[in-house]
């Protein structure tokens, strides 16, 4: 168990190093740089700026300096938010994205599993057809459409009742999180519903269910203990990547609902070629994703004893 964990962590570190290196050189290969602004500056000023940010050094040296700082956990100072460190930006804004993401993931996974079980139970019948139609809608319509529509309906609802049922946007209380987290979780929920449905259908036809029936175990018990529990396993597999996808993919939802999450920094940094923020957020998210995948792999053992890794 321990050697396995160590091996996975080592693999993770190499992955993160690779992400950092690829991003670093890719970013520098793009034309333009963070120092070019709308107004042209004289060569002198430009040289001063380059010295200030250490961009006058050769690229390999910059890379080594970067790696050294990365090991020390220092992502540097943002180019666009000139007096904020990238560490501060991540520290202040990631918890917001994460809390929104976790809430929407809880919503998505629980409801996805339940809807999936329902459709499998009533395969090819009325509930199945209706839900699967909705699922296709949720998968194919991008989240910003849902975000815009839900916001508009909230505005209309609020003006209809002349009372603020839920806030239309902004951040501060839990009520601000309800609609954005549901919108954010919709596509994941739909995806999980499909996954759950197929995994349930596979299990329904397996031998051990037949045996359970033959033994005369009550149907409720078969459903809960034998079908649901086994069918949920594949869902856990995709949960790790889903966490990362939801917490990073929230940019548009964050923008529409005016939520101060990390997503906007992630996207705007690329547009602004803000080197330090690009590196900081990419490496951070990369490490986060790798970490989540490792965690999920380890959690397998808890859910399914067959997959428990022996030492």
């Amino acid at each position: 168990m321990w050697t396995y964990t160590l091996k996975r962590i080592l693999q993770g570190v190499i992955t993160v190093w690779f992400i950092a290196t690829a991003t670093f050189f890719g970013m520098h290969a793009v034309p333009g740089d963070p120092l070019s602004g709308e107004k042209a500056v004289s060569e002198k000023v430009r040289a001063n700026l380059e010295i200030k940010y250490g961009l006058n050094k050769p690229l390999e040296e910059q890379y080594l300096i970067y790696l050294k700082n990365l090991l020390l956990g220092d992502f540097g100072i943002s180019y666009t938010q000139e007096n904020r460190s990238v560490n501060d930006i991540i520290k202040e804004h990631f918890p917001i994205s994460a809390s929104l993401g976790i809430l929407s993931l809880i919503f998505a996974s629980i409801s996805g599993a339940l809807w999936g079980a329902l459709t499998a139970l009533y395969r090819n019948k009325y509930p199945d057809v209706v839900i699967m139609f909705m699922v296709i809608l949720c998968i194919s319509i991008p989240s910003f459409v849902f975000a815009a529509i839900s916001q508009l309906s909230l505005v209309n609802l609020n003006s209809l009742f002349n009372w603020s049922i839920l806030p239309v946007g902004g951040w501060g209380t839990v009520w601000h999180m309800v609609v954005p987290s549901i919108v954010l979780g919709l596509s994941t929920m739909a995806y999980l519903t499909r996954l759950m449905r197929s995994s349930m259908l596979e299990i329904v036809n397996s031998d051990f269910i037949r045996t359970a029936f033959a033994k005369g175990i009550p149907p409720q018990r078969i459903f809960l203990r034998h079908q649901l529990r086994n069918a949920v396993l594949p869902l856990v597999t995709v949960l790790g990547p889903s966490i990362a996808a939801i917490t990073t993919g929230g940019f548009v939802v964050e923008m529409i609902f005016a939520i101060p999450g990390l997503g906007r920094y992630f996207v705007q940094a690329v547009q602004q070629l803000d080197y330090t923020v690009i590196m900081g957020t990419t490496v951070f998210y990369g490490a986060f994703l790798v970490f989540m995948v490792i965690i999920v792999d380890l959690i397998y053992g808890l859910i399914d004893p067959r997959l428990r890794i022996d030492s």
């Binding site: 000023v45 700026l49 409801s111 329902l118 815009a148 239309v168 839990v174 009520w175 149907p219």
Partner: protein, 572 residues
């Protein structure tokens, strides 16, 4: 065969009974999930209340409190005024800081921190008012200005806007590290008297004083904060009508009336609550409709919606000019005058503004000088109307043939049009592509780039034409007029002409208003005759405002939107 069918029937019915039996726990699970979700919300709510006790109530306007809530597009990136270059920071700085002079209600220049001033061709003298105070109560003195301007000019500060201070004697030399900082033409012979020696006569020096780079900085505070200066609400000291009370990064800013501001009696708003930070125009309109914010800009998409709701829609100028800039480098086909003339006789900017952009407030581009610039007594464009071109496809085609002969080419190759990646840039570049294909049979390749990469390509000259824009820095025609000087680094198409340079030199160093406007007129004429650029449009602003909020200023310069003198009237 029969047996099999029987078997499947049986299986089906057993499946049904199973489904019905299993549905009960499933429904129970659904109920449990809903209860769980609400419990989770409730728990989180309690938890968050433990963490932060303060909850903000956002109302668009509040009459008894004289407070308003607004939304901004992005978090102000830089509130250190000697480094700040962007509009978002400029808007905040315009509310919390004040320079020697400020904008009056009608947009002209009036006394600010300085109570009076005197500008000659060699020096400018400012007398600072006795009652001018920093937000900590200490007096604002001449040395605060000396320190601020010196800081902006120091090479190690690396301020991008230091060039605005080149009007000060030796400003450029200090900025480039040629002369030490004590050679700078700044002195404070008395605590409240500031004398500025000028590098050359500057007719518009007073107008520069409203620009953030010219705002004061308290040395003690600055050195104490060092790198953190301007990073947070507590890392700034304020000289303007408001102070930043709280600043939650990325989420909200709360501006409160500055009790030490010298003109506090004329400031009516107690609070400006910037409650939302988002670039999404539709989201902001939703906030407006929900009564959460007091003002928001409209786009072409939501203009109809606003009209249907009978909101009070206002329009104004944003001051910026957008134009089609040619690449004048000799290797490019666009360096040929006849070619540029052909385009000038073809492209209909009225069509662009009235049929493509379709937003109120926008004006078709006619000159490098936007309509709002002042001449000697009246508006510059009233004194010297812009030369107008009469579109004519026959003349255009003749020019194009001529260009072909001069360049010695039989077929026109594809020309590269460099543009940005915004929706507006998309529509406009596609329109231009269509117009040139239909009318002149020219093939245009659109090169769409994000902002920084477009700038990089503009600077290195990798384009034939580019859709560029320019916003004014100060209230003088020169802010546009010197754009195409051969030495101007912003002249990215590298246009160079002796005539143009001469006119710009007169406009820069003459103090006689008549000579200056004449120089501006010749600049305007050269731009037209040489088709240096094709002015496309002057950008407008269309916005909706809460009916109770009065006296909000949208300016072409300084803080836009300006709420400093705004007030809330009683509800009807």
């Amino acid at each position: 065969m029969r047996l099999k069918q029987d078997d499947s029937n049986q299986q089906k019915s057993s499946q049904e009974t199973f489904a019905n039996a299993a549905a009960k726990p499933l429904i129970l699970l659904f109920c449990l999930a809903i209860v769980f979700f609400f419990l989770l919300l409730w728990a989180l709510n309690n938890l968050s209340q433990l963490v932060s006790s303060q909850t903000t109530v956002n109302e668009a306007v509040n009459w008894p409190d004289q407070s308003i809530t607004i939304a901004i597009a992005e978090e102000p990136p830089q509130l250190n005024n000697s480094l700040s270059t962007d509009q978002s920071s400029g808007m905040i700085l315009g509310h919390v800081m004040e320079g020697l002079l400020r904008f009056s209600d009608d947009g002209s220049i009036e006394a600010g921190i300085a109570e009076r001033w005197e500008i000659t061709s060699s020096t400018a003298t400012f007398w600072i008012r006795e009652e001018a105070r920093w937000s900590d109560g200490s007096p604002i003195l001449a040395k605060d200005f000396v320190f601020s301007w010196k800081t902006a000019l120091l090479p190690e500060t690396a301020s991008e806007y230091a060039f605005l201070l080149y009007t000060i004697k030796n400003g450029r030399a200090v900025n480039e590290g040629i002369l030490p900082e004590n050679e700078l033409g700044l002195s404070a012979p008395e605590p409240r008297k500031l004398i500025v020696k000028l590098e050359r006569p500057v007719a518009y020096f007073d107008k520069l004083m409203t620009f953030p780079t010219y705002f004061p900085i308290q040395e003690k505070f600055y050195t104490q904060k060092s790198e953190r200066f301007g990073a947070d609400a507590k890392d700034l000291i304020y000289s303007g009508p408001f102070i930043i009370k709280t600043w939650v990064h990325g989420a909200r800013l709360l501006l409160e009336k500055n009790p030490f501001y010298w003109d506090r009696d004329n400031i009516q708003l107690n609070q400006i609550n910037i409650g939302y930070i988002t670039q999404d125009a539709s989201a902001k309109l939703n906030f407006f409709q929900d009564g959460k914010i007091a003002l928001t800009d409209l786009t072409a998409d939501n203009l109809d919606n606003a009209m249907k709701n009978r909101w009070s829609i206002k329009e104004s100028q944003d001051g910026a000019l957008f134009f089609l800039e040619f690449n004048h480098r000799a290797s490019r086909l666009t360096s040929n005058l006849s070619f540029r003339k052909a385009l000038q006789y073809t492209i209909d900017m009225d069509e662009l503004v009235y049929q493509v952009t379709k937003l109120p407030g926008y004006l078709p581009g006619k000159s490098i000088f936007p309509v709002w610039l002042h001449g000697t007594n009246r508006l510059l464009r009233e004194e010297y109307p812009a030369p107008e071109v009469e579109l004519n496809s026959a003349i255009a085609k003749r020019h194009l043939k001529q260009a072909q002969r001069e360049l010695g080419i039989s077929v026109w190759p594809d020309l590269v049009l460099l543009t940005g990646d915004t929706p507006t840039a998309n529509t406009q570049s596609e329109w231009l592509q269509g117009v040139l294909k239909n009318k002149l049979d020219l093939n245009i390749k659109i090169d769409k780039q994000i902002f920084k990469q477009r700038l990089a390509k503009m600077t290195s000259g990798e384009f034939d034409m580019v859709m560029a824009g320019w916003g004014p820095d100060y209230d003088d025609p020169l802010t546009f007029g010197d754009l195409f000087a051969s030495w101007n680094l912003n002249n990215r198409g590298r246009y160079a002409s002796r005539e143009m340079d001469n006119a710009i030199e007169i406009a820069q160093s003459s103090t006689d208003p008549n000579d200056r406007v004449k120089a501006f007129n010749s600049i305007q004429q050269i731009i037209f005759d040489d088709a240096v650029i094709l002015p496309m449009y002057e950008r407008g602003l269309t916005y909706v405002i809460h009916p109770q909020l009065k006296n909000v200023k949208r300016r072409v310069l300084g803080a836009s939107t300006d709420y400093t003198k705004a007030y809330v009237t009683s509800p009807p």
